[in-house]
Amino acid sequence: MTKILHLAWNDIQIEFSERSTLIFFLILPIVFTAILGNTVGGSAPDETADTRLILLLVDEDETDLSMALTAVLEESTLARPVLRDRTEAVRLLEEEDLPGLLTIPAGFAASLLAGEGVDLRLATAVTDNRTLALEQAVAAAARQVDSAIQIAQASVAAAEQIRPFAHEAERQAYFAHALAMAQAQLAAPPAVLESNRAAVPTPQGPDGFELASAGQLVTWVLITLIGTSAVLVNERIGGTLRRLLVTPTQKVTIMAGRIVGRLSQGLLQMALLIGAGALLFGVNWGNSPAALIMVVTAFGLAATALGLLLGALARTRSQASGLTIMFSMVLAALGGAWWPLEITPASYQTAVQILPTTWAMKGFTGVIVRGHGVAEVLPVVGVLLLFALVFFAVGLWRFRYE
């Protein structure tokens, strides 16, 4: 056991003798988390601040109906309408990175009252994902205004069936009254939707940094641990393994030392990234440190074992280094570290169940987002340990010391 620890400590010392190690170990993961966290959604919103997306609004109609649409939009939980003239709105959209511009065209009310369709144009910045939320907000507001008009028209039609109006002014007055009643009714509907989330560690749900932290942790720790392959190939080519074998040390001890050394680095990296995430970005890593430690350890073992397997397969340094970058990036991306699996097709979600990264992400998001405890993470930990077992077995079987 002492020999194993000596070998492991030796590995750690060699790795950290170069200051550049810290770049990949800590600095780059934090930089990536900072940028991705901000891009995905940033910190949890201050509940007192208006964090709704700004919707530039150009009202070319300026009628009661267009103002009614604006009023409904102001009640939206997603969008905050900001009224501007066309020139200013276009300038703001193009120069200020605002997500969308809604134009209520001239003739909006006249067309609706005549029973004709109207197309509201929502101009957006190309590929901006905030625009999907804006589109949803505008569509919901449009539906509400639309419904009020439909109700008023149905009311006018019902009255006309019983007794025709004496003149157009009477009809319009009847319609206007019906419209006002409908708008009031729809503002306080008889049936409502209440949404509740399953128990989460943070009451407002996960923020951008919490979503990005787990993915970045998995990506960068994979690079470190799959990098075991490069260490083993280096030692094989450099003859260190051969030289160690002439000492009174068993093969299994040498291999265990190397694996423990690398695994320790991965565990240390995860501990540092978890700490940095909590301190720098306010990431809540769940309610159960024990569950988190179990997921971290199981993932560390699976990734180290994969590194050993690749180390057994690679013959040259460049092969090992190429395979490390390729496997860590592809496995991280496919397993849901770069984008949430729920937005992918069902067949894709089923296919990636064969990857350890998919299970690692399940474990980390379960702990962060749902506050999973020891009992809940056991299945994920079990699968990750199974991956570790298979990779270790095949890796050791295929490994050549010379």
Binding site: L28, I35, L120, N196, M326, A333, A346, T365, R370
Partner: protein
């Protein structure tokens, strides 16, 4: 010139004979592009389908039943998979176990709230118990239930408004109101969905106000190629230092070759490697993903330019690094920082403005901007600012590298 070409050709052959290098050069970017294609499809729109949903109906009236029918309807079958559950506690536990995206709980009294049998009916409630690890799926379920509630609320409001007005104007009696109300209400509710007058269309606002959409694969395929191009040029720069460390560079210099010829050959080799890599990846993407760029010449010029700018960085790293190990660390760091800062992992418009600006220090940003323009239908003349940017970058970096190399050789 011939010795330069010989050295460059040798480097190209060596690279393409190395399976490990090929994995990094071609396989990794292609695998990532394939993964993105499988995940997002051609247009980058999420392929959400078969969202597992449980529904618990405590309402005894017709509206609860109607919502169950809507959720289990053929129209929504592809998007959501709804299962009726009798036990609310067990259904909630399924969300807690991450088995379903949401539970729709129809509270008792929903139907009475819409067609009240008393003066002050309680408000009807449909509750969603959402899975926090599937926020997007939850949003979809929320949208479906919202639309249903809007329809029945419209129906209720329609009945009340029409009947209220008819009674106010003494066109019907209170007895007639009892029978007419639900009929008018149902018609208004149906009309509000079927005869929707207002539509919302999303259009992309580009500089020239055209309505070009975003081609996800047209962005991601070159993006992955450029990301891994940086690894290639770093490896090229590192190989110069490795040759120096191993003694092959001094041996080459004892041959009738000038230092400039040797370094020129090595850098040309790196350039050709990059050109082959990006060319193959872009060519394969065009064939496999059917990506179409209007200007083939524009694509070629962009590839030639982005590889030149990237090779400039490779040359600089080799010129200023003290060892091949240092070149590897600095180069890989730069490659990754450039990638995250320039938008190789997600579309550039999603990045903060300041980062989009700063990222023009990298070839990645210029290349991505050029490819995005090509996707939007740009021709060669539209690309000129980007091509000029990349060549200016290449000239500055090669200039700096030459000065540093000269100092080393002297």
């Amino acid at each position: 010139m011939k010795p330069i070409l010989n050295i460059a050709w040798k480097d190209l052959i060596v690279l393409f004979r190395d399976p490990g290098a090929l994995a990094l050069l071609l396989l990794a970017p292609f695998a990532l592009t394939l993964a993105m294609s499988a995940a997002f499809g051609r247009d980058g729109n999420p392929g959400i389908s078969d969202i597992p949903v449980l529904i618990v109906n405590h309402d005894t009236g017709k509206f609860g039943e109607l919502l169950v029918e809507v959720m289990a309807s053929e129209e929504l079958a592809e998007l959501i998979t709804t299962t009726v559950a009798a036990n609310e506690t067990a259904a909630r536990a399924s969300v807690d176990r991450d088995e379903v995206a949401a539970v729709v709980i129809i509270h008792a009294g929903l139907s009475q709230s819409i067609i009240p049998d008393q003066a002050e009916p309680d408000r009807g409630v449909v509750e969603l118990y959402l899975n926090p690890t599937r926020p997007i799926s939850g949003g979809v379920v929320q949208a479906i239930v919202s639309q249903f509630l809007q329809q029945i609320n419209t129906g209720a409001a329609g009945g009340q408004v029409a009947v209220g007005q008819l009674m106010q104007n003494q066109l019907i009696t209170p007895a007639e109101a009892q029978t007419l109300g639900p009929v008018i209400g149902e018609a208004a509710g149906r009309q509000s969905v079927e005869g929707q007058l207002i539509s919302v269309s999303r259009q992309f606002q580009t500089e020239n106000d055209t309505a070009n959409g975003f081609d996800w694969m047209g962005y991601m395929a070159p993006s992955m190629a450029i990301l891994f191009l940086m690894f290639t040029v770093v490896e090229g720069g590192r190989s110069i230092l490795t040759e120096r460390d191993n003694g092959t560079l001094p041996r080459m210099l004892t041959a009738p070759l000038s230092a400039a010829q040797v370094l020129g050959g090595k850098l040309l080799g790196t350039y050709l490697n990059g050109l082959a890599q990006v060319g193959i990846l872009i060519g394969a993407s065009v064939l496999i993903f059917n990506i179409r760029w209007e200007s083939a010449l524009g694509v070629v010029l962009t590839i030639v330019s982005v590889v030149a700018a990237a090779t400039g960085w490779g040359a600089c790293i080799a010129a200023f690094a003290r060892s091949s190990g240092q070149a590897n660390v600095v180069g890989t760091t730069l490659a990754l920082v450039f990638a995250i800062g320039a938008g190789n992992f997600f579309a550039r418009p999603n990045l903060p403005d300041w980062l989009q600006l700063v990222s023009f220090i990298s070839p990645n940003a210029w290349g991505l901007e050029a490819f995005t323009s090509l996707t939007a239908g740009a021709g060669v003349s539209d690309l000129l600012p980007y091509l000029a940017g990349m060549w200016i970058m290449a000239a500055i970096l090669f200039g700096l590298a030459t000065l540093a190399f000269r100092r080393q050789v002297v």
